[in-house]
Amino acid sequence: MNETNVMNAARHSPEEFLIATIARLLGGAGHVAVGALSPIPGCAALLARELGGGRPRVSIIHGDANNPFTDGGRELFDCAGQGRIDVFFLGGAQIDGGANINLVGAGGYPRPRKRFPGSFGSALMYFVVPKVILFAPEHSRRVLVKKVDFVSAPGTSPPEVRRPGGPTALVTGLCLMAFDAATKRFRLESVHPGHTVEEVRDNTGFDFDVPEDVPETPPPDADRLALLRTKIAAEIAKTYPDFAARVFGHVTIA
């Protein structure tokens, strides 16, 4: 890590860094949809829209702001099934090296040792959205496992299964990885400032490809940070007032 990046890194919060990292993955997309409880992906999508002069279109299903859906809870999924959503975000209480995700529980099923909330819409969205970005802030062997205990949604499918979509990237607190559906493996794309390839390896339960040269994930520049703390903070506050207050110090005026 060079001097400049250390200085840049000091000027932003971890959330701001992740937002900028995810936003960089959204260039060129036409329509980014953001599910419930996703303030960081939500900010990333709004930042990308701001930088793109209104493109991508951003739809946030939580709340009424930036929410175009007027046909009930099914519309997000119908919309994805129609092929109108280019990018979506999924988490995973467990994610394995084949990009299988588990949102259901650790240990046995149906009586897991530790129960998670459940699969939400993953078992459809993962199949039909062309670019699904996995987001796992906690980069640990607890989350990034060798093999998930329950497949909420598989990372890849056999050729006879209609699957226009799937995972393309994984963003964690340590690094950015790309997923290749052909090899069914992740590849390390960049490591966040202040962290190392070794650290990523030590904290990852699955095997992944590492190119000879692994760049550092660039930190957000001053312009982006300024945008985030003003326009984006005000916009996301309509959906996530608590998050906006905590991360940007943005107080919503009712």
Partner: protein, 275 residues
Amino acid sequence: MTSLEDLDQLAARVPDGALLALAPDYSWVPMAAVRALIRRRVKGLHLLAVPISGLAADMLIGAGCVGTLEAAAVSLGEAGPAPRFSDAVESGAIKMRDSTCPAIHTALQAAEKGVPFMPLGGLVGSDLVSHRDDWKVVDDPLGRGGGPIVLLPAIRPDVVMFHSPRADVHGNVWIGRRRELMTMAHAAKSTLVTVETVEDEDFLADDATAAGTLASLYVTAVAKAEGGAKPLGLAGYYERDLAHIRAYAKEAATAEGFKRYLAREVLGQPARAAS
């Protein structure tokens, strides 16, 4: 015709063992009616979250009202995991039927159309499918080489319950952009609605209000319950009380704490809303 009654009469319409459908915490959940159900000690519910739930499911589970839970997820959102839900699944106290959001919407649409099943994309290869003996993977039944697809049997709830800001005197109920409530009501055998106010109007008489109205044709009974969604919010009317929900999450982390909450906020207060 739609019946206008009180909250306890409404709760009495939910028999033990009923397949009861509730919308997510953000979608006008009838918390006052949920508390009335707990007070009347309803048992063995097959609770269907459409497609996810939070406080409502957690409280019904904690109070021992639920036999089977079908849901795509249960969570208290920003307030964290749903403690009574997690505990009940881990201990085997309830039977869990894991689903995924679009599967629940689709199964209700099948009931809405009166067809025995509907297909849904995705799903193939998810462990959700292998644990559901009612879902069926078939090879493209059109015979066009479309590959495997999952067929989901219709779900027809015995009872749908929700809370709305307003009904009219004819029993028509405002649902606004909460269209999942319409699909649920169409799919169900009976629909029970609590409301903030009953207005001397006909919502169907004006195109502007008709667009967001569930007709009384689908409404079995209406009961007035001011603040009936609290401590959850009623979008456009009042905000959820996140402090209350966070306090609940903390207190309900143990069975004993949940009992205290129940005694204080539900059983001890037959007529008052928690808030």
